[in-house]
């Protein structure tokens, strides 16, 4: 007896949808404007927005360990750019971008920090904003920066290909912002030093060819931002000296392998306290928002 089953053909789908476009991260051909790239798992809506603008965006990788402050930094950065603080004005280009800002500002307004970024790539927020540079640098500068989960960066460094989107974005980036928790640098020995060296060597490997010129320095600008400086004033006075004293391996690695780097200190809150509830959950409560050092790394990167 012959049995039959219905199978929906999907190959003809794109013919009615207006054509294909390229993934902004890996260059794969895409048709579905509301899904994820099958190669690198980046959201196709982001790639569609970039394709519709007609000009390729500039990727800036914001990297750091879990709990370094990537979500807060990106959200606050976008909020300040939207307000035009510091002479830089930027506008979010799509809803994914607004979500970054919304998540951070809503949480801070309720005296909370945003929730931990999950490892699920489809849950990540992506900042995509158009910077108005006025008469400088041709007028406009599109920046795209995904809010990576810290564990994803760690996994991708240990097992390349485990989070392909991380690798593709790092390779495509024109500059990097590396966030380092200044409190952990001060209090946790050499852990942060070793992790920062791992990230720096990952960036170096992704941006230099494996050839006899492998010792070539990376020319792409790298801004190293010591975060949470409201609780670590030692990092504010001279971030580079602070890094030299507490992260000697990382500092030496940068001097050897990067030609353009600078240290910054940043914080978002003026003061905070620790709350413990009846379940034993520990929560850091920000008392008030007082951003410092958020725009300076981006301003420096644009100047490079």
């Amino acid at each position: 007896m012959t049995t039959y089953a219905n199978q929906t053909m999907t190959s003809g789908r794109f013919l009615g949808d207006g054509g294909s476009f390229q993934c902004a991260c890996c260059g794969a051909g895409l048709f579905d404007k509301d899904g994820f790239c099958p190669t690198c798992q980046a959201p196709t809506s982001l790639s569609k927005a970039i394709a519709d603008r007609g000009a390729p965006g500039q990727f800036i990788s914001v990297l750091g360990a879990s709990n370094a402050g990537k979500t807060v930094y990106l959200g606050m950065l976008l909020d300040m750019l939207t307000k035009g603080i510091g002479g830089l004005r930027g506008l979010p280009n799509n809803s994914l971008s607004v979500a970054v800002q919304e998540q951070t500002i809503n949480a801070l307004e309720q005296c909370q920090f945003p929730e931990k970024t999950p490892n699920d790539v489809d849950q990540w927020k992506w900042m995509h904003c158009e910077l108005d540079l006025g008469k400088r640098k041709g007028g406009y500068f599109d920046i795209i920066s995904p809010d990576f989960a810290g564990e994803a960066i760690s996994f991708e460094m240990e097992q390349p290909g485990s989070f392909p989107v991380v690798g593709h974005v790092v390779k495509k980036s024109v500059s990097f912002v590396l966030l380092i928790d200044s409190i952990r640098v001060r209090d946790s020995g050499r852990e942060e030093d070793f992790f920062a060296m791992k990230i720096a060597s990952y960036i170096h490997a992704a941006n230099t060819k494996a050839s006899k010129f492998a010792k070539k320095k990376v020319k792409l600008p790298l801004a190293i931002v010591m975060t949470k400086c409201d609780s670590c004033p030692e990092a504010v006075q001279d971030p580079q000296e602070f890094a030299k004293a507490n992260m000697p391996g990382f500092e030496k690695y940068l001097e050897r392998h990067f030609s353009t780097f600078k240290f910054f200190a940043a914080s978002v809150v003026g003061s905070s306290a620790t709350l413990v509830d009846r379940y034993g959950r520990v929560e850091l409560i920000p008392f008030h928002v007082s951003p410092r050092g958020i725009l300076e790394p981006v301003q420096w990167i644009i100047k490079q």
């Binding site: 199978q7 509301d34 879990s66 709990n67 709350l275 034993g280 520990v282 929560e283």
Partner: protein, 237 residues
């Protein structure tokens, strides 16, 4: 039969965040990579209820599979006020399912009764777990399946057809319970049962391509995620 076990959760040690925090010696690097990919992190459970659990089954490679239970654990280390997500997995060869009628759901339920998938906060501080000794066959016999009503049977059959055609499905309804799920599995041919991946409570994600999700109800957020991932919905209510 001997089985390996592993725990995926968050820790504050040198490797901060969600990762495989402990495993038995027989877990290979390839299996560690698969467990890391499938491992649920913050926000992966679809309910905020502290006693919520998700029972899951997914492949590791062509020969092995992992059955697991995901629950809320102790306070998360990063001072963001949340609970950690704790997943305890048992790794075994597909051939081990023969004595359980090739039914991973049956074995999963049995392991849960035995306490092999319980949450244990002390285990996170140990890198190495001992291998597990599981019974070769269930000592309580095969569970009795009660056939649902005609309408539900038809919808379950639609769901089974989708799975047979290689399409991922979400079964939605307040009446989705162990009996109904057991009935669905019994409709699958033997060779399809041992390769079926399913979850009863994890959020759909591109990194966890479960063939079958079970939900009591669909929120707007969940519905949107399901559509983005191309998962077909079968509603029982």
């Amino acid at each position: 039969m001997l089985a390996e076990q592993a725990i995926f959760s968050s820790e504050s040690g040198p490797s901060k965040g969600y990762r495989l925090v402990a495993h038995s010696p027989g877990v290979s690097q390839n299996q560690i990579n698969h467990l890391t990919q499938w491992g649920p992190s913050h926000g992966s459970l679809i309910s905020d209820e502290l006693d919520f659990e998700s029972l899951n089954c997914h492949p590791l490679d062509d020969e092995d599979l992992a059955i697991s239970r995901t629950v809320y654990g102790g306070p998360e280390y990063s001072q963001r006020g949340s609970f950690q997500i704790f997943t305890r997995s048992i790794l075994l060869n597909r051939d081990s399912l023969e004595q359980y009628d090739d039914n991973p759901w049956w074995l999963l339920s049995y392991c849960r009764i035995l306490g092999n998938l319980r949450f244990d906060p002390n285990v996170i501080s140990r890198d190495t777990l001992p291998p597990l000794e599981l019974p070769d066959r269930s000592l309580v016999g095969m569970p009795k399946i009660v056939e649902p009503n005609c309408q539900t049977r038809e919808r379950i059959s639609n769901c089974v057809q989708m799975l047979q055609l290689g399409r991922n499905a979400a079964l939605v309804g307040e009446c989705v319970d162990e009996n109904l799920f057991g009935y669905l599995i019994s409709l699958l041919p033997s060779q399809s049962r041992s390769v079926l991946s399913f979850t009863t409570g994890l959020r759909p994600s591109i990194r966890r391509p479960f063939q079958l999700h079970l939900f009591e109800k669909l929120t707007t957020n969940l519905n949107s995620q399901i559509k983005k991932l191309g998962i077909n919905t079968v509603c029982l209510n």
